[in-house]
Amino acid sequence: MQQALYAFLMILLTVACFLMMAKLYARLAFSFLIPVLTSTFLIIVILVACKIPYESYMEGGKWINSLLGPAVVALAFPLYKQREFLKKHLVLIIGNVAIAGFVGMVSVALIAKSFHLDHSLSLSILPKSVTTPVAMAVADGLGGRASMAIVGVMIAGIFGTMLAPYIFRLFGVESSVGRGIALGSASHALGTSKAAEYNELAFSMASVSMTLNAIMSSLLGPIIAWLLLS
């Protein structure tokens, strides 16, 4: 009973923090303050201050986490709504997601190598642009550590989403298609939800890119790891 109450409290804490930060974000409209980042920070501060270990936080957190799978499945819905557009531009999308996946993995491999990063760490962050469950599986298959893969994925997701508006301005990327593909294939589901802020087209582009990138990276990952990190 007490445990259930505890779990409930943790869920409440998460949702409350998130809603508060979402409101703040809506009011200030400042892309550095994306709710995921600010509420993560706030929750960590609260947990540390109250000396609650992560494991007991996850008693509640795992319930929220368990909705993540169905939510990813639900991305099929915007895809379906844009199916005509997808059919027409299939080659464009596949080609660009392949470019994105390739650039993403090769660049992180080369940078990690030039930094002399630990070998198993480099392998773990190789699939950083892929949605978490895939990244864990890929890193594991490559001989990296799944837990480190999550860290890489989170950094790519949070900071990619945060910086994307500035990057788009810098490089002059204005089309919804370009923005959607870039966000989906570099910052997976977090980028996809950022793309939803632009318009429906960017949103579905991003969710297609995320899906395709997940599939391609699980095939491409071993090859790049073998070529660049062995």
Binding site: I64, V72, Y80, G104, G141, V151, I167, G178, A186, S218
Partner: protein, 120 residues
């Protein structure tokens, strides 16, 4: 529900692609083939997608388990991922935009050509 089916399929075939992605593809196919009516998932999917970022929070809080990130290696790792992500977003955004525009241009050219052949 589709997520569950996806996971079952994943376990069955020992695939590296996770259940949720398989579920996504399955649901998409079912919608296209009209096996599942759109109205059935409209509300549920809309709701889940509207809280998508909230669902990530517990996982991102997991970063607190890695005080290692404050070390030198952690900083390097952070920098590597960050730079690579910026490159990926910039390059893929540009290339998508470029190819999209050139595809549109080609279509316009084709239209023009047709007009010419008609007039001649």
């Amino acid at each position: 529900m589709f997520s569950y089916i996806g996971t079952v399929i994943q376990n069955f075939f020992h695939l590296i692609i996770p259940g949720s992605i398989i579920g996504l593809i399955l649901l998409f196919l079912c919608l296209c083939l009209k096996v599942v009516p759109v109205q059935l998932i409209d509300q549920g999917a809309g709701f889940l997608l509207s809280i998508l970022t909230l669902l990530f929070v517990p996982m991102t809080v997991g970063i607190m388990k890695y005080p290692f990130l404050l070390s030198w290696q952690g900083l390097l790792l952070f920098a590597a991922v960050l730079v690579s992500t910026i490159l990926t977003i910039g390059i893929s955004g540009l290339s998508s935009q470029f190819f999209e525009k050139s595809a549109e241009k080609r279509k316009e050219d084709q239209k023009c050509n047709k007009r010419y052949t008609h007039s001649s």
